[in-house]
């Protein structure tokens, strides 16, 4: 199934668009999304260790604007946001 990940902060550099689409097995969890995303990054930007680090240190939010944990299950057409380490003010 496909899921859409909206990009924020440093993760915006992952794409020229403001989201990524990943194809993941159904059902899938945040943990698997993260692994899938890291594979994607490694394939697309093999030289960029920093991007991988960002994915490792990011949280994810669901459509209800809740931060969701590794075990959180996704259904088809789920939308996520990637929340890299924050620092406003």
């Amino acid at each position: 199934m496909k899921i859409k990940i909206e990009l924020f902060g440093a993760a915006r550099d992952f794409s020229k668009q403001d989201y990524l689409e990943l194809t993941v097995p159904e059902p899938t969890s945040i943990k698997e999304v993260r692994e899938n995303l890291m594979d994607f990054i490694q394939a697309k930007y093999p030289e960029n260790k920093n991007y991988l680090e960002i994915v490792k240190r990011s949280a994810f939010a669901n459509e209800h604007n809740e931060i969701v944990q590794d075990h959180y299950q996704l259904s088809a057409n789920s939308k996520l946001c990637i929340i890299p380490p924050v620092g406003g003010g």
């Binding site: 490792k56 990011s58 604007n65 380490p85 620092g87």
Partner: protein
Amino acid sequence: MFHGKVIDASKQSISLDEAKKFITSEQCGASLFFIGTVRNHNNNKKVTGITYDSHDAIVEKSFKEIYEEAIHKLTIDHPSVYIEHAKGYLGLGGISIIIAVAAKHRSQVYELSRYIIEEIKKRTPIWKKEHYNDHQSDWLKGNPVHDLSK
């Protein structure tokens, strides 16, 4: 009383006066206004401006949560809180954040204001991209919201 909002810097600017009007109350003897501004140096680089990125919905939700936590944890009489954070590009001196609080006593406004800014730094989904005088730019390192890599 609470107000928390993300402000699109291309359309509006953050106003100290608006914040003052909102929090002013005859029950309160003390007000404190924290303002964050874009400064011209960071980590020995000459900064020309900052672009702020924001997940608006979660930012505004987090402002509300932080406010509610603060007045639950701290003892504040007649708290009034106004928080705004800019998104988009700001040049030098531009106001990125205002946290205005009023309460009965001065110790209360200092505690409340400090609590709010520290929590925002820790967990509100806002990001900074600094622009330098050599035309380079960099996303600043931040705090993981939930460190899931552990």
